[in-house]
Amino acid sequence: MADSIALPRLRPISPQLHLFKLLPGIALLAAIGYAGKLLEQNISRYAKAHHTVIPNIEYVLWAIVIGLAISNTVKIPDAFLPGIATYEFWLKAGIVLLGARFVLGDVVKLGSISLVLVALELALAIALMTWLGRLFKLRPKLSSLLAIGSSICGVSAIIAAKGAIDADDEDSSFAIAAILALGAIALFTFPLIGHWLGMSDHAYGMWAGLAVDNTAEATAAGALYSDAAGKIAVLAKTTRNAMIGFVVLGYALHWASAGQAKTISNKASFLWQKFPKFVLGFLLISLLATAHLFDKEQLTSLANLSRWAFLLTFAGVGLRTNFREMTKQGIRPFIVGALGEVAIASLTLVLVLGANRVFHL
């Protein structure tokens, strides 16, 4: 999901954490996100007023591009870093609130289809990355981390697996850098491919949710296509995230049997510990919305709150992507990651187009 090699990972928040330390970074996220929103609105207004046709560039892209421009040209002062790292919090809160825009029946229907596709994607991605890792003679645990990162949930999965399989910091950094760099590339290429193929919002959203690794990038890649595609991308990605515990447990058991990781005594507790709790929050809000606990105006308010949370997330995606830092991590893991991601994106595209024909996504 979301982390950075340049920014500190947000540790579990405790009540004694000084809130004011977060404020500069959060203010920066809000300023960048809002600037992106204003740019989209003003360019659109200008085009209308002058009767000219200017391609509509969504606030999502503006927020990411402004963030990228800042993080890759100036050194961000340390005072901003803790607040910038909260973009993961906004992402998860935004996903939970997005549950209000789904009727539970749709979640079950689309979730079931995506669950089948996720299972196929997991098997393909793990097999492919393991094979590529062997082909390029990567260290076995690095191959495992890349396979976990590309099959499930990007950086969160790598971090969850790092402790479970006793991987070293260097391997984790390699895998994280490769996944983040490829996520950044996917942001710009996926919408272009989707438009080129004339994909429907639902089919494209499903593809973005299945093939883009980090949750933040998958959400952004979906939202860059359309609002509806963004919704479906989040749903598909959330289904994928729910699998994190099972895959990490599988790898942990494999490395433990090889005598290279700790044994796991309580598998149920391990699964619960690794399970992303925001998935439950998403389902709960969807359930409450389906039970008509909120009226129409309240649902609009919740949807808008979710959009504001995502606005901060997209600014954070740009700010934490530092290309210079990524290139320091070496080329071989990146090549393996890139080859694997291209193959996974192609295979999932075929899967989604096939599912679209059968289920009319």
């Binding site: 947000l10 579990p12 928040i13 405790s14 009540p15 004694q16 993961e88 919090f89 992402l91 998860k92 809160a93 935004g94 939970v96 609130l97 209000a100 992303p276 709790k277 925001f278 439950l280 929050g281 709960l284 809000i285 409450l288 606990l293 909120f294 105006e297 309240q298 609009t300 308010s301 919740l302 949807a303 808008n304 709150l305 959009r307 504001w308």
Partner: protein, 45 residues
């Protein structure tokens, strides 16, 4: 603060330590509750 007190204090706070996931879910649910109760209204976009 003595070492003993520090340990005691960190153990107490340790009980309240919550993961980022849980914080995000709790905050989103609290926001939804405020919207439902009418405290937060007409949130614009």
């Amino acid at each position: 603060m003595s070492e003993g007190n520090e340990k005691k204090s960190s153990a107490i706070w340790g009980r309240f330590r919550i993961s980022l996931d849980v914080w995000a879910v709790a905050s989103a649910l609290a926001a939804a509750l405020l919207v439902r109760a009418g405290v937060l209204k007409h949130i614009p976009w």
